[in-house]
Amino acid sequence: MTKLVEKRTVDMQIIGDWVEPGTRVLDLGCGAGVLLDYLVQTKQVSAVGVDLEFNKIAACVRRGLAAYQGDMTDFMRAFPDKHFDRVICSRTVQELADPTAVILEALRVGRALTVGFVNHGFWKNRLNALLQGRKIRNEVYTTEWFESRPANPVSVADFEHFCAAKGIRIARRAHLAGNWRTPCRALPNLLAGYAVYDLAR
């Protein structure tokens, strides 16, 4: 396995621990459906993913997963309150044009919302920016500036502040160290490489 796939799998296992078996799960930005496939196989969830790209939807369909091609906010607006037991937003939140709208809508259609993101405040990122004075590049941020999509990186502190400002209850949080495997027990905004939050209204 490459380092990236390895990291992806760690992310999956944390989220998998929080998902109740047999529940109805929505994955925003589902990609080729790796996480949903894992949840279907290990937790027998009833799953649906949303993604913008045709090829991602085709990959999900090949896996036997239900997937919807389109805008995630438009998708969620078509569902009644609490239709899903859990909405998952894994490594997607930094790509959203309007993260507040998506997160509030996800908290409406879902009983719980799991958000996983790379902590931009991680000390190596800070050091990298300080020393290089350029767009951060490492095994997580892999692309040059000129081949990157617009991104809105978020740190642990940013996210905690957002939840407080919007009155969103944090039911659980998991911070992982820079290796994304061992728990990070102190100063997460500085020392955590990856963060997963479980939110509720």
Binding site: M1, N55, I57, G64, A67, Y68, Q69, G70, A78
Partner: protein, 398 residues
Amino acid sequence: MTDDVEVMTATDSAPRHLAPGDVGLVAPRDFVCRQPFTFKSGQIIPGFTLRYETYGQLNATRDNAIVICHALSGDHHCAGWHSPDDRKPGWWNNLIGPGKAVDTRRFFVICANVLGGCQGSTGPSSTNPETGRPYGILFPFVTIHDMVRAQKLLLDHLGVAEVHGVIGGSMGGMLALLCAVEYPRFTRRVLAMATTGRESAQAIAFNEVGRQAIMQDPAWNHGDYLREGGPRVGLAIARMMAHITYVSDASMDRKFGRRKKDGAVGDAYTFDAQFEVEGYLRHQGQSFINRFDANSYLYITRAIDQFDLAHAYGSLEAAFASIEAETLVVAFASDWLFPPDQNRALALALLRAGRRASYAELSTDLGHDSFLLESEELYALVRGFLERDEPYVFDYSI
């Protein structure tokens, strides 16, 4: 559906029907049901015929059938060739065949001309046993529901225990969806393309213009005409107009632009066809009247207009509540007849009803008829939906 589906060019040395991936020479068959058939309207005919074709073999468990449902002007001949001299193969030959997206080595593919049609199945041009003349407009009003019920009788007759998948575009998508609604345990998968749960006012309006062109033609004679005659002018105009709705501004512009027909020079002080697009549409109209019955056109467009899943079952969610099939809805960005939004509404309602449904959209610019497109992306999607990969094995050894 348009007639000018691009056909793959074959070399002179290899007959086209023997090309790899082609089902080859095929012959239609007739299913004759001698039981009286009661239409949704309550009207009854003493029996009916459905003309159909099959490709591939029904397996021992009788559960590998794929049912192909055709659109308004389509027919049962969806793959292969009737004769080596045919100008074109069946209308979905690019999708169906050995090793193709709908793999006839694996599946038993069935396609029937709809009830009310005119390509061999019983419809208004069939002989009314009570009068010995064509039914004309004495033929009972046909609904999509009637078409699906008649088709189910054929599938029962063929010994199909369970349908692996029902596939259709446009009106065919309506039949496919309704098959899953009406026969939930029988229907395992539905692939509906470029379709709708109910037409918009605009689509009904286009159909009405087509019907008026036919009915205002004096030769229509209230539907009473002989097989060789009838409202040929009206039917051709209906077809010319409908054809425009099956393509797009961009695709017509690419194909014709403002190019003039051969021989047309200078400014045109005449109403003869000057532009290539005019000649093309006239050709479309003329070739259509040689293969389609005007009364069938009235009946089938009316059936499409009447189709309204939400109204018939109370709501789309109620219609889909009993579906057991997995559904895949595919729309095409440039389809302005049954646009993406109407296809999305189907997938969203299925998901709200707790069903397993997917929605994918291809960004072609060919309009409504894009579902007939030669597209590797579309083929891969269809194959993936019908065949599915082996379960992905997760490697936890990190």
